[in-house]
């Protein structure tokens, strides 16, 4: 029995491809239950548990099939009246044309949106305070627009942008300043960066 457990565990982990185990899984009820539990354990160990843990949907599917009413013959509808049957295709075609037109419009809009400039990533922002670097800074993530009249919202965006850009700049310069400190410490223990130019309040 322990051997079987171990085989099953290896099978769940993808370390064994024992086909006889598959048939054993089908036949053996307790092994089948174990199979479900192992996956449950695996999910919870990896923090991959769904928010609403409903582990076995097979029963729900079975119930749904059972409660499904049997359909014997198609109902007669108004579409089966001869005149209507010949009119409906025209309406359908018109509808298809409209759909085709709207799809084309959507494609045009989609293409326009796809052709927006690519947002370049985290290495984009340049330190503003570094000497010797000319050139503008590009907005970080919230975009500025000049044509729109300035409102509180625009002002707020600008402020938020300035903070975000500064945060990025500080991150890049941090690597530099830490490096200088390491050199100043010259072989002393690494990883205590509050010795240098910064003041620790404690």
């Amino acid at each position: 029995m322990t051997q079987e457990h171990e085989n099953l565990s290896a099978f769940v982990d993808g370390e064994s491809q024992d086909s006889s185990l598959i048939s054993a899984l089908n036949d053996n009820e307790s092994l089948n239950a174990k199979w479900q539990r192992y996956h449950l354990i695996r999910h919870s160990l990896r923090k991959e548990m769904p928010e609403f843990a409903d582990f076995d949907i097979s029963e729900q599917v079975a119930n749904a099939i059972e409660s499904e009413p049997a359909i014997l013959a198609p109902k007669k509808t108004w579409r089966d009246v001869p005149v209507v049957a010949s009119v409906v295709p025209f309406i359908k075609q018109g509808g298809q044309l409209a759909i085709a037109a709207s799809v084309a419009a959507a494609v045009v809009i989609g293409v326009q949106q796809m052709n927006q400039p690519v947002d370049v990533g985290p290495m984009n922002s340049t330190p503003a305070t570094l000497p010797g670097i000319k050139g503008g800074l590009s907005p970080v993530s919230l975009e500025e627009t000049r044509t729109v009249p300035r409102t509180d919202v625009m002002e707020q965006r600008k402020v938020v942008n300035s903070f975000l850009t500064d945060h990025r700049n500080q991150l890049r310069m941090k690597a530099e300043s830490l490096h200088n400190q390491d050199e100043a410490l010259n072989g002393q223990e690494k990883g205590s960066p509050d010795n240098g130019e910064s003041n620790n309040p404690q």
Partner: protein
């Protein structure tokens, strides 16, 4: 046929009625199953009869990773996924020159492209719109969490490393490791390492509930005996000049933070002007080596509404809180609760 199916339904129902008991059994099965006990090798690493690769503890795996990242010659393609932006593909090359100097090259493949080149302790940035420049640094400040990859031992105080198990990533077998902040105040990471080389294959940044925030996925990995030929084409004498940059003088601490997450400390404190607006701010950077948080103390912006502000920019939390005429702004990749705790713990000395 229908008879057997019917039987199965009945069996299913019986099993469902036992589901609660089965759930209780989960714990027992978990303890009694030997194979899982081996996979559960959390931080101890003393299992002697397992396969050689699965013997290592989480910490040993990270040591193996940092050695591999610093010492191997490799060529890695990876993709960065962030909320609110498109996938960003990169190439990451690393090599050791004949003279023993570390060479590292990071290149963004979409758009106008950005190249970062590190030769030893000199990092050169080549970007569109600005002249190329170099800085003195041991690490490239880019999409990769360099501290986690090259010096994970410095994070031990602030984070716990937990070995989770094995998995298949990028077509290779991988070890999965969780990195969790000890006080639950920062986002967590899930790291998958290549079993044979120790190089990273995938990195997820997850929030406190385990939802994915950012992801780095390796798509191709090559380890070679010699450095990539790309490095031989670099003319080191033609690299841009290093900018010597004098850090601002340290400030008298007129305000203090009462709360800092475990493992975080103040790595920088100065007063400077913001880009675009030119506003003066008192600035403090907190860091645990992996996550950096910027704290700004500034006068309240007249044009901006009075209420507090909480935004999310990619996975950065942006929080502004008003204390009378002074506002505090906190930015960083931390949960909003942590940003709030930092912002509300500020005390001003000279007032």
């Amino acid at each position: 046929m229908s008879q057997t199916i019917h039987n199965k339904f009945i069996n299913n129902k019986r099993r469902v009625s036992l589901r609660v008991i089965a759930l209780l059994h989960v714990i027992f099965a978990f303890l009694s199953t030997q194979a899982f006990a081996q996979g559960l090798d959390v931080q101890s690493g003393d299992v002697s009869n397992a396969k050689p690769t699965s013997q290592l503890s989480a910490r040993a795996w990270l040591t193996k990773m940092s050695e591999a990242v610093r010492e191997l010659n490799y060529h890695i393609s990876f993709v960065v996924l962030k909320p609110g932006s498109e996938a960003q593909p990169y190439i990451w090359r690393h090599g050791i020159s004949e003279t023993g100097v570390e060479m590292e090259h990071l290149s963004m493949l979409n758009g106008p492209g950005q190249e970062v080149l590190r030769m030893g302790d000199q990092v050169s940035y080549f970007e569109p719109n600005v002249p190329a420049y170099s800085m003195r640094s041991d690490v490239i400040n880019g999409p990769l969490p360099e501290t986690l990859l090259s010096a994970p031992e410095t994070l031990l105080g602030a984070y716990d490393f937990v070995l989770v198990g094995r998995n298949r990533i990028s077509g290779r077998s991988a070890q999965q490791i969780r990195v969790v902040s000890t006080d639950g105040s920062r986002f967590g990471y899930v790291l998958w390492l290549d079993e044979s080389t120790g190089l990273p294959l995938k990195l997820n940044m997850v929030d406190l509930k385990g939802h994915l925030l950012e992801q780095i996925q390796v798509t191709a990995l090559q380890v070679t005996a010699t450095p990539h030929e790309h490095f031989s084409r670099i003319e080191t004498s033609k690299l841009p000049q290093v900018i010597e940059f004098n850090p601002n003088k340290s400030l008298e601490a007129t305000w203090n933070l009462a709360f800092m997450p475990i493992g975080m400390e103040i790595v920088k404190r100065d007063r400077h002007r913001l880009p675009y607006t030119g506003q003066w701010v008192d600035y403090v950077m907190l860091s645990d080596g992996l996550v950096n948080v910027s704290v700004y103390l500034h006068e309240k912006n007249g044009a901006v509404a009075d209420q507090d502000l909480l935004l999310r920019s990619e996975s950065n939390t942006f929080l502004t809180r008003n204390h009378g005429s002074i506002s505090v702004t906190v930015i960083g990749k931390v949960p909003a609760q942590t940003a709030n705790a930092i912002a509300s713990s500020i005390t001003v000395a000279n007032q």
